[in-house]
Every structure is written in C-alpha cells, then in structure tokens.
Symmetry: C2
Subunit: 242 residues, 2 copies
C-alpha cells in the first residue's frame, strides 16, 4: 500500500514582531503536525519559537534541533545529517513538518543545510521554502527610510566577511546593509569613518524584539549594545529627506 508522505516546509518567521509573519507562514504553522525549531548548543532560547508560539495549538509536536556552533564543515554536516534522519522519520510517517528560521528563510538561514542533507539522503521527499520578511527590510521600515530607490544598488554583507570586501562595497554601493554588526561595532565604525560614510549610517539592534534599539545617527551615538541581532544601514538614511 502506498502511504502519503509528509512534506517539509522551511518557514521564515520574520525578524521578531509576530505580526510580520506572512499569512502563508501562519497558515502552514497551524496546519503541520510537527514544528522543528533550531537552537545553538550555547543554550540560548529559541527566538523563532517564541515568535510563533502564540499561533500553535496543543496537539502540535515541538521538536528542538541542536546544531554545533562550529565552523568545522565535517561536524556541521554530520549534525545536519542527523537532523535530516529525524525529519525523514516524521515525513515517512505521513506527517507534515515545518522548520522555522528567523527572518527570511532564503537569507543566511540554517534551513538550507537541512534541506541539502535531506535531499542527499531522500530526494523523493517534498520540501517547500516559505519566505519571510528580512531583518533589513523591517529595520528600514522602522526607521521609515527606503533601502534603495530608482537605479540605486543595495549590498547586503555580514560583518564577518572581512575588511577588504566591506571597504570595496562601501566605495561602490549607494546603500549597504552590514549584518551581525553588533559584536564588532567599533571596528565597523572605524571602517565607515575611513570610507567617509559614518554620517550616513544607522544602527538597529534586536529589531522587533524585546530590547529593540534604533540609532538613526551612528556617528553621533555613544556606547551601544553589541548584540548579535543587529545591523548597520548605510545610505539613503541620511542623504535624502524622507
């Protein structure tokens, strides 16, 4: 007898504000039997789970996925293969599942590590990606400034990418988003000052979460929290009056 296999959804839950989920994400999260949520092995709470929890009902199963905070490709791939096995067992039992990630599922999310491991082991299983509001869109909206206009370009770069690349990007793009800027905020300030663009920079920390902080003028700001959930927006923020 052929039994129906379950389907896996990779769901972006947006940057923090629960109302910034899409209608589609909300519907899927209420329909699936199992919700997988990621947690690093440093023990912090799952923010993604906190965002969606009010939507869920008691008969849904919540399952934590722990992955090592390491840059070792071998350790990571092994961990994701294990998660893929767990997900496979759920789908083979005919149950649909969602894997939730912060922000947009297509941008810097762990979902695609799972998807790759799943695809390698079981290419027959159905997987759907559900986009979410990226943190930088929500941050720009909070500041009520455009990310980009007209013929302008927009560059999105993690602060961890390295100084040489960031320098080049700051020299060529009207608008630049530097992700995860908090932990290296002083280095980023120096880099922006060097590029002559500190006056155009805004800082948004914990966008849409408890402890949210907006600093429209990074040049004039004093001490700032160096949170991981933080970004610097450079560009339209100061050049034009919006």
């Amino acid at each position: 007898m052929m039994t129906r296999k379950g389907k896996l959804y990779g769901v972006g839950v947006g940057p923090g504000e629960p109302e910034l989920l899409t209608l589609k994400a909300a519907r899927i999260l209420q329909e699936v039997a199992v919700v997988f949520f990621p947690r690093g092995d440093k023990g912090e709470q799952s923010l993604a789970l906190q965002i969606v929890r009010p939507l869920l009902h008691p008969d849904q199963e919540l399952r934590e996925v722990t992955f090592p905070m390491t840059t070792s490709r071998r350790a990571l791939e092994g961990a994701w293969r294990e998660v893929a096995q767990t997900v496979t067992a759920v789908l083979d039992a005919g149950r649909d599942a969602a894997f939730i990630t912060m922000g947009d599922s297509t941008l810097y999310s762990t979902f695609f590590y799972l998807k790759r491991a799943l695809r390698e082991a079981r290419p027959d299983l159905e997987v759907e990606t559900v986009p979410g509001i990226p943190s930088f869109s929500a941050a720009a909206a909070l500041l009520s400034r455009p990310l980009a206009c007209g013929r302008e370009g927009l560059a999105v770069v993690p602060a961890t990418r390295g100084r040489a690349f960031l320098r080049q990007v700051l020299a060529t793009f009207e608008n630049v988003v530097i992700l995860k800027a908090g932990p290296v905020l002083e280095e980023m300030r120096n880099l922006l000052a060097e590029a002559g663009r500190l006056e155009e920079a805004a800082y948004v920390c914990r966008c849409g979460m408890p402890g949210q902080l907006l600093e429209e003028n990074l040049a004039a700001a004093g001490e700032l929290p160096g949170d991981y959930f933080s970004l610097i927006l450079v560009g339209n923020f100061s050049r034009s009056k919006f």
Copy 2:
C-alpha cells in the same frame, strides 16, 4: 477642539501571491478608511490592488493615484505634491489611509516619493512604513535555493543601472539579483556570459502572479518573455546542491 488626525501607512503587499502579505499588512488594510493604490499613466491595471482586493470590505474607499511615467524630476515632484495634498485632506478629516506598493515598501517603491512630499508639506502627520516580502526572496523560495549563505554577500541591482556597474558587481559578489531584467534580457545574458556566470543564473518572471515563469537555467533557456516583473538570480542557484 482638537480632532484626531488620521495616519498614513505605506504597505508592501509582497510580490503577487496574496498569502505572502504579512499579518500586519492584512490587518491594517482591513482597518483603514481609505486605500490609495498607484497606477502609471500607461493605463495598466493596479497589480497591488488585485492582490489586496479580497481582503477589503465594501465601506472602504479605494482611490487611484496616477503618476507620470517620466524621468523628469520636476514633473514627478509636482505629481507627488498633488497626491500628498489628496492624502492630507483624508488624514485631516481624521481618517486613516494606506498606500499600497508591490513587494517590499522599503525597496524601490513609490511610497517614499509620497512620504517625502507629505513630510515637506505637513511634518505633523504620522506615517508608518510596513515592510513586505521582496520579490527576490519569493523568487528564491520558489526555486528553493538560498539567496545567500554564511559569509557570502548579496547584491541587488536594477538592470537599468548600467553595464559597468553590473560588470563590477558580477566580478565581486557571490550572489547577485538583477531586477527588471526582462526588457533587456538579451543584453543581460551577454553580460553574464562575458562575466563567466551565465551557468549560475536563473530567471523568474511574474513571480506569484498569473503567467509566472521559472527558468532555473538561464544558459539553457530559449526565448523568454521580457516582462517588467522579472529578475535574474545569480549565484547559489547552481554552485551548491540545495
């Protein structure tokens, strides 16, 4: 007597699929008294209005905003000042209003032209920006590929930006989104081939709309529709197995 002034919301309605509206956008669109929707003077239907129409109720007022399809700054600014006057009259009467735009309201949207004109004339009026799913996030989700991973960068550039800039971006960024690529698709194909990146390019046209087309492999594709609502995604789409 002080009367309450209305508030203006700039609402991104996502790339086309009505379920990709956020819960917040849906709520606001059901609460406001007036919905302004933009239309170019070429007479095409308002796609943004089509997306949200099922959410609206009969006592809400729908008002079309026409703006000239011109690059003349003077003509555009004059047109937006007129729209700002119309919006002001609504807000002064104590009615809330939404201005809807396709995709994300912070990315290449006409909303900020209105916001600037309104701010100049009436800085006392309250304006809130509500983000939406960007077309490129939805396109990547449809292809079930990441836009960017790990320490990679992402560049978003309109095809109209010019060849020199596009060449430089293709030479430096792992991942590149070229917006509005359809009308100049052959030129873009040549540029990508020249940069040695045609094999990494996918094409998405009318994402989430009637007539949607996905072409995972632009190099192998034949004749393609040159729609305005179209983009090329270059990068992760071919390099890794997702």
